[in-house]
Amino acid sequence: MRPTHPSRNTVFGLLSTLVLAACAVSEPGQRQNDAPFDPYESSNRNVHSFNLAVDRVFFRPASKGYTNLIPDPIEDSFNSFSANLSEPGDAANFLLQGDFKQAGISLGRFLMNSTIGFAGLANPASDFGIPETDTDFGETLAVWGFSEGAYIELPFFGPSTQRDSVGVFVDFFTNPLTFAPARPIENVGFYANVLERLSDRGRYSDTVDSILYQSADSYAVARLIYLQNRRFELEGDSSDSYVDPYADPFSDPYEDPYAQ
C-alpha cells in the first residue's frame, strides 16, 4: 500500500466519515446469533433485490460462460494470479494488525510467486507448503477494536457490515493494483478480481443458486451465513457461542419426540 494517489487525502477524509458513521449506531450489548443487528433492513432488502437482478441478468450467466469456456487449469492460473496480486495488500494489513510474521509470509509468497511462479500464474509458494492466509482492512479494524456495527448489504459486493464496508472501501482505493484512475491499464488487480469472482460464482453455481433462488428468504439466509462465517474468520469458533438445542427454550425435547 504505497501512497501513490493524489486522491489519498480524499480517501482518508471519506474513511473517517465512514468510521464515524459506523460508530453512530451502537450495537446491542448482547449479540445474539438468532437476531442479527440489522436496523437498515428495509433498505438492505432493496439492495438485495437489486443484487439478485444483477446476478440473474449478468453475473450468473457470465460466470457460467466463463467457467464452461475456460479450461480448469487456466482458470486456476487466473485465480492464482488474482490471489497473488492481493498479497501486498494482505502484507500491509498484517503489518497494521501488528502481525509481523504473517506480513512477512505474505510478502515472501508474493516475491516467490511473482518470480519463479510466472508472475503469479503458478503458486509454488503453496506447493512448498507456505499456506496462503487472507486478510483485509475490515479485519484490521476488528483487531483495532472497532465493533462490527450494523449489517449492510452493499450493491454488487453483497453481504457486509458497517466495519467491513469501510474495509472494502479502503482496501480498494488504497491498493495501487486495483485503483489507478489515471492509468486504467494498471487496474489489473481489479480485473483479475472480477475474473476470480466470476470463477467462484461459476464453480459453486449450484450452491449459490440454492441460497439465492431456492430459499424462502434469501436475504435472511445470506445475512446469517455471511455474519457467522465472517465472525468465524475473525474470531475463530468457540464452544461459548454454541447453541444447545437440548437446552432450547422452544424445544423441550426428551419428554416428547421419543415418546411418540
Binding site: N229, E233, D237, S239, D244
Partner: protein
C-alpha cells in the same frame, strides 16, 4: 497393634475407595469422548464412500438419507429447526414434519456431494463441551484451501448421535431454522402446509 492395624486398614480402604472414585470418572469420560470421535470417524468414512462411489445424484441422495438417519439425532434437529412453533404442534404434526425434514435435508445436502467429488474429510480432534462433544474435522477439496467442518455429538437421545454441524463457522441448524421459519411465515404459521412444502423443497 490393633489401632495401628485399624489405621492401616482404614487407610487402605479409604485409599482404595478414593482411588476408585477418582479413577472412575476419567475412563468413562475418555471412553465417551473416544466413542463420540469414532462415531464421526464412521460417519466420515460413510460419507467419503458415497462421494467416491460416483453414483448418480439421486442414488447419492438416497445414500445420504440413510446416513443422516443412522448418525443424526433427527427428531431434535427437526424440533430445533421448527423453533417456537414446535410447542404448539401435535405429535401427529411433529411426526409428519420430522419425516418431511429428513427428506428435505437429504436432498438439499445430498445434492452438494457432487461438488465434493475427489474430496476427503479427516477428523482432527475431539473434546468435551457443555452440550456434549465437539469433533473437529478438515475437508480437503481439490484446488481449494481446506475448510473446517465441526460436528456436535450428544447421547441425550439415548444413543450417541450428532445434532449439529458447522461448516467454516456456519451453523447448519440455525441456517435451517431461518429457512424453515421463512417458509412457515409464507404459510402464515400453518405447519401442515409447511410440511407439504418441505416435501417438495431442497
Amino acid at each position: 497393634m490393633p489401632s495401628n492395624f485399624l489405621f492401616r486398614r482404614n487407610f487402605l480402604m479409604s485409599a482404595a475407595v478414593f482411588a476408585g472414585v477418582a479413577a472412575l470418572p476419567m475412563p468413562v469420560l475418555a471412553l465417551s469422548e473416544a466413542q463420540a470421535r469414532s462415531l464421526i470417524d464412521q460417519l466420515v468414512a460413510d460419507i467419503n464412500r458415497v462421494i467416491a462411489s460416483g453414483k448418480s445424484e439421486n442414488a447419492m441422495i438416497r445414500d445420504f438419507e440413510k446416513i443422516f438417519i443412522k448418525y443424526a439425532d433427527v427428531p431434535i434437529m427437526a424440533r430445533y429447526a421448527l423453533g417456537s412453533d414446535a410447542r404448539g404442534a401435535t405429535s401427529e404434526q411433529m411426526r409428519a414434519f420430522t419425516a418431511a425434514f429428513t427428506g428435505y435435508i437429504s436432498r438439499k445436502y445430498g445434492k452438494r456431494f457432487r461438488e465434493f467429488i475427489g474430496a476427503s474429510i479427516e477428523v482432527k480432534s475431539a473434546r468435551k463441551i457443555k452440550s456434549g462433544y465437539e469433533i473437529r474435522s478438515t475437508a480437503n477439496l481439490r484446488g481449494e484451501a481446506p475448510f473446517e467442518v465441526t460436528f456436535l455429538v450428544s447421547d441425550k437421545s439415548g444413543k450417541l448421535k450428532f445434532f449439529n454441524m458447522f461448516i467454516e463457522g456456519v451453523n447448519m441448524l440455525l441456517t435451517e431454522r431461518t429457512e424453515i421459519g421463512a417458509m412457515l411465515d409464507r404459510r402464515k404459521g400453518n405447519i401442515n402446509e409447511l410440511t407439504a412444502d418441505l416435501k417438495r423443497a431442497g
